[in-house]
Amino acid sequence: MTMLEELPKPAALAADLLAVRGLKVELQTPRATLRPVDGVSFAVRAGETFALLGESGCGKSMTALALMRLLPMAARIAAGQVEFSGRDLLARPEAAMREVRGGQIAMIFQEPSTSLNPVMTVFDQIAEVLGLHRGLYGEAARGEALRLLGAVGIPDPAERLSAYPFELSGGMKQRVMIAMALAGEPQLLIADEPTTALDVTIQAQVLEVLMRLQAERGMGMLLITHDLGVVSKMAHQVGVMYAGELVETGDRAHFFAAPLHPYSRKLFAALPSEALRGHALETLQGTVPPLDRAFAGCRFADRCPAVMARCHSEAPGWHSVDGQQVRCHLFENERAEWVKAAPGAVVPAAAAKADGPVLETRGLEVHFPIRKGLFKRVVGHVRAVDGVSLSISAGRTLALVGESGCGKTTVGKAILQLVRPTAGEVLFGKHQLVGLSPQAMKPHRKGLQMVFQDPFASLNPRMRIGDILLEGMAALKVGESLEARSARIDELLQRVGLDPAMRSRFPHEFSGGQRQRIAIARALAVAPALIVCDEPTSALDVSVQAQILNLLRELQAELGLSYLFITHNLAVVDYLAHDVAVMYLGRIVEAGPAEQVLRAPAHPYTRALLAAVPKLDGEHGFAAGAGGEIPSPINPPGGCHFHPRCPLAREVCRGEYPGQTTLGGSHVVHCHAVSEGWGGAH
């Protein structure tokens, strides 16, 4: 029984640019043979975007690499057909395949900072494609490269041609990648998580470039992503992948109106949003099954809320519902009525503790000196944090939001005295932390802990979990005896949802979500009052992110913890935060209660950030976000830092930094347009 007969073919098969049928990839590992792609069939039409949606490890990137025949050495294509413009790519000899790569199918990758050759100039890297596929050299290549850089929206393209990748920002690098991909005038572009490593504002800009160029050139696009928002803005067709196979395909409008497969629905339900505030997020139980075996039943059966007996024994076939295809027994006879899952249990708000802030910063400054010359004289400062005043109350969450490079992580580190503030105050309770010696700081460390972004890098790979948790307690003298500490470790692991028996394992034996739980347990071990969470979920899949956010909420309700939540993800902020502070180039530009700042944003920067978040409304395209990029904090623009990117900027914005305007309650903003009431501001 092959996929070929089962999948209903779209009517306009003739227009298919790329048709993949029954693609299987096998990956040889020392222990077993895995099947990361196991019978995938789909088609991409010219001028359309097919989005392959799925969480990490579902086989979507492997599928893309298999199409290009660029699989890693341990992997091979075991079965299937890849038909591109009517020719079978898998039957081509390697030499002929090289004409396809870059010339007819081009690819852009997730991580622009590692995907460009660090020691070659932008021009050299683009010119390689121009020479290889279009026979353009010398002046002709230069002219074409200039045109391409202009087309992807790179300012001063002539200067950028001779730049090296390290001289460009992440967004600019990804534009160069796109220019390079377009240089061979491909008919199909494969974009593998093209904006995952970028800020929302930059993501919006890059996606816009991709959409525009696709429309201009009538290119087909295979977009690989885990982000429902990106799919909603970009895709014409959607395919959802789970554990190596497609479980649902359909067009965007239908998919976003009514996702069919229980897995697709879970993905939607796991997304944090304002509407779910106060409710636990839906999570997926268990993990993706290992791919080293043959499956008898549905691969999602073990995690499915609507599982039936036959799901375990009988693999579901494709069923068609209103033009959508879904692989699930639920839809065998008619469209199953799906009761929209009731929002999760309400998590009670933390009981208000003593009045007054747990932590306060006043005019916090962190300036890093720049040294030059024979005697390393200080010639300037990087004003990473430039006068930040924040206040966090007991049992509340303050979200610190901004683009990368705005200084938000430095604020977190400066609060914990992990970097020394150059000026300002950090008041923890009644204690001034700035200027304390490491010894004097030690008693306060119990009260202040941190959870880092990357759970893979922040746990020592050579220490057992139990020792990782013990280390902090021992260093800060929490718990009297080894037995008491040991009992506490069991309790902590249980509290974060892990089996205490796991304490003797090493970090590499855990998944990303589990590691982040361990990192949270480590922070909790010393019973802190405040945890600084630095992007704790941005390296995690949506369903795992939901688990971690739920855990953080529960812990807050139970223990009355305060969080400083450093993030760029506004949906998470909307779901979790009580208060929000928006940071730009080292300064807070707007702050206040979450519902006011996010529902009625006053600062143009806050509005631009909100506009750049792709919404799940199934509408194509983007609202106008902020143009340009965050400038260097070495030499910030005079006047209001934001004026070069601001649509409302006037003469006064170039001249002086705006003072603080209070918009009622604790909602404050720094903006001339607001204080003087022009440009449609409040």
Binding site: M68, L70, M73, R98, E99, V100, R101, G102, G103, A106, M107, F109, E111, T114, S115, L116, N117, P118, V119, M120, E128, V129, L132, H133, Y164, F166, M177, M180, G184, K372, G373, L374
Partner: protein
Amino acid sequence: MFGYIVRRALYALPILLGVNLLTFALFFVVNTPDDMARMQLGAKRVTPEAIENWKAERGYDKPRFYNDKAFGVSKFTDTIFYDKSLKMFAFEFGAADDGRDIAEEIRSRMVPSLAIALPTFLLGLYVTVSLALLLVFFRQTALDFSGVVLCVAMMSVSSLFYIIGGQWLVAKIWQLVPISGYTGGLDGARFLILPVLVSVVAGIGANTRWYRTIFLEEVSRDYVRTARAKGLSELRVLFRHVLKNAMIPVLTGVVVVIPLLFMGSLLVESFFGIPGLGSYTIDAINAQDFSVVRAMVFIGSLLYIVGLLLTDISYTLVDPRVRLE
């Protein structure tokens, strides 16, 4: 860039002074001139007068740091430290035990040393990098695997084996080149072939394996995948993309030894009778000629410091991210 070089050169001065002090301590404090005299004279001839004579002949009878019998500046200059140690900064090494001027000797012996070491270095680099690229091109195949096994086998064999084996096979059995010896000029080439060949072969195992590791690490990087996705051939990917990036770690190990090529090779020069600095050092150690050994130790450290500076400068040539200030 220029400022950086000047600063690094200034940093080198205290290091060199430290090296100078340490060698002085080793040669004149740990091992006193009296000890040297006893060793040189041999047990039978040691008398107090003979020791005093031996020391006076070489100027070792002066005080170490401060001469209170002298006047003015000579209180400091008429000492062992000034005469034997500080003067090395001006490349004045004095005379060896056989009475010849050490500086002169070093100058004339540099040429044969370089005649062996430079071709060995260049040919060795070319051969091992090519072999490593070959193994990486055929990675995860039988060729790669057997290549690595062969490298390990070649590393495990003592370099003496290559020298003696080479002399026996190439010079004695096949009689293609002389077993040992040296003459200047073009005519000397036939004497150089075998030692160069032997040195290159002796280095193949370790270096090929090392470069292969570097290239393999580089081949798995994201930008290499990008290069393949452009449609470049595997050879072009290796030469244009991988090689250039891999040069950065390779340089660390390679450039630092360039200045040290002047020092020659101890073993090869002795076995092939090359009158270079390597054999000079070995002979001096055997003959317990301390002034020569001291001079060679000092020159060695000087060249090593130059090598480190060259390494840092060479980074700017291959890695645009490194700017020296």
